[in-house]
């Protein structure tokens, strides 16, 4: 039987907004397939293929996850990390760097501090571009990883009550996660300090598809949530340190909080974490953030496999 062409072949992955439920589910199916494959068979999927990465912001975690993903399917990676703004001032434009990298590789991953950088790169690149995080805008592969984790650990996504906690204004993962969740039938509670509430100029279209509640009180819904998604609250987002310390303390997940949570609830975090989840929580059965990191490698391997193979795998 001839398999039909897969819809991700040679496509860009720029924004979760370009997705729908069916597309997400087909990536999840491919991820489950990757997990089941023997390492030797897995390595056939990306054999001879090169992933090129361009990281204009430090992000060891995302870069490593992509490098591990391409290696697991038998490909190789080349790239530049920590491209500093000073060197680009002297050197090349983003456009030229992307052009050159697209000559050397079969698929590109771009992490860049500007919003919209990946869409721009995709217009220039001859090869598929994967958005590895653009400004405060989007981080689509993180959202795919997050939803896959929820699905694996809760056996479903529809019907769940999901709380998203922390810096919802500047945290790019939150916008991608919300977009992705909006394709499902879920109850979402956003919990953040007043000054870090979600940006309304980025949620216009999400709000057309589903609604969510917003509050500043972590404990208000905690006993009812199936998923608690925690993000970093960064010091540099606050005008003064006192305010930061005050705010930070009210959103820390410690054992006092996990005891109030449902037994089968799960805690996720895009990592790296600072102290928003206490180390003692790591040993609870609700802690799933390291599992989430592992799934991240598989979802990225699946995505790369789909982009690189016309008939899927």
């Amino acid at each position: 039987m001839i398999q039909s062409m897969n819809e991700f072949f040679q496509k860009d992955i720029i924004s979760v907004r370009d997705f729908d439920k069916q597309k997400l589910e087909s990536i999840f199916d491919a991820t489950n397939k990757i997990i089941k494959l023997k390492p030797n068979d897995r390595r056939e999927i990306g054999r001879g293929k090169t992933l090129g990465y361009l990281f204009y912001e430090p992000s060891t975690r995302t870069r490593l996850s992509f490098e591990a993903a391409i290696a697991s399917i038998g490909g190789t990676s080349i790239g530049i990390s920590n491209i500093s703004s000073s060197s680009t001032q002297k050197g090349e434009s983003l456009a030229d760097t992307v052009r050159i990298m697209s000559i050397y590789s079969d698929v590109l991953v771009l992490r860049h501090p500007l919003d919209g950088s990946s869409r721009f790169a995709a217009e220039i690149s001859e090869k598929s571009v994967i958005n590895g995080g653009s400004g405060t805008e989007e981080h689509p592969t993180q959202a795919i990883q997050d939803l896959f984790t929820i699905k694996k650990e809760k056996n479903k996504i529809d019907g769940l009550k999901i709380g998203i906690v922390g810096d919802l204004k500047y945290g790019r993962t939150v916008y991608s996660l919300l977009s992705a969740l909006s394709y499902y039938d879920v109850d979402v509670h956003l919990i953040s300090p007043e000054s870090l509430k979600i940006r309304t100029d980025s949620t216009y279209e999400i709000k057309k598809r589903f609604s969510f509640t917003e509050s500043t009180d972590l404990e208000e819904y905690i006993d009812d949530l199936d998923v608690v998604y925690v993000t970093r609250i960064q010091k540099e987002r606050f005008p003064d340190e006192e305010e930061y310390i005050k705010v930070k303390g009210s959103y820390v997940i410690g054992l006092d909080i996990t005891k109030k949570m449902k037994d089968d609830a799960i805690i996720l975090h895009p990592l790296p974490r600072l102290d928003e989840i206490s180390a003692e929580v790591d040993n609870t059965k609700q802690a799933k953030y390291f599992k989430q990191a592992e799934y991240g490698m598989y979802t990225r391997a699946a995505l790369l496999g789909l982009i690189l193979n016309e008939k899927g795998f």
């Binding site: 924004s15 907004r17 434009s93 983003l94 456009a95 860049h112 501090p113 500007l114 919003d115 919209g116 950088s117 869409r119 721009f120 400004g135 405060t136 805008e137 989007e138 309304t200 100029d201 980025s202 216009y204 279209e205």
Partner: protein
């Protein structure tokens, strides 16, 4: 003869932008870069009575014919305006401005961290996602833009 015709004289050649939403006349001038430096006669009428209890602004520019790009700008700033092209005292073309599906390189994205505001060679593209409510979205950073705060290139 309408009251407005009495206020603003007829022109021989040029463009009459009529039915500009009251209060938007000066913004239209700015957007179309009509500043009189070309030396053409420009007539501006603000708060002209138009129908029952309504008012409008009118701009007449002699010896200049508005182009499509200009009409697109008008669609965002003064969506109810009409563009009348006059040649030899005759109305040769009457256009209602209408919002296109996308607006290219007229406005800058208001998000300072948008790639279209960087040193890269790239011009803004905005998708009109709601024509009646006039909602614009930057195609690159995907922010919803406040039409009243947009700056021109």
């Amino acid at each position: 003869m309408q009251e407005s015709d009495l206020i603003v004289r007829r022109i021989k050649d040029g463009t009459v932008i009529d039915h500009i939403d009251q209060g938007r006349g000066l913004r239209v001038l700015e957007a179309l870069e009509i500043d009189g430096r070309e030396g053409n006669v420009i007539t501006i009428a603000l708060n002209v009575p138009s129908g029952k209890s309504k008012k409008k602004d009118i701009i007449k520019v002699e010896n200049r014919y508005l182009e499509d790009d200009d009409t697109n700008k008008l669609a965002v700033i003064a969506p109810n305006s009409t563009v009348n092209i006059i040649k030899n005292y005759k109305l040769v073309e009457k256009r209602r401005v209408s919002l296109p599906n996308e607006i290219e390189r007229i406005f800058r994205c208001s998000n300072p961290d948008c790639v279209t505001n960087s040193s890269e060679h790239i011009e803004s593209t905005m998708d009109v996602i709601d024509k009646s409510g006039l909602v614009l979205k930057c195609r690159y950073c995907s922010r919803i833009l406040d039409v009243n705060k947009l700056k021109y290139y």
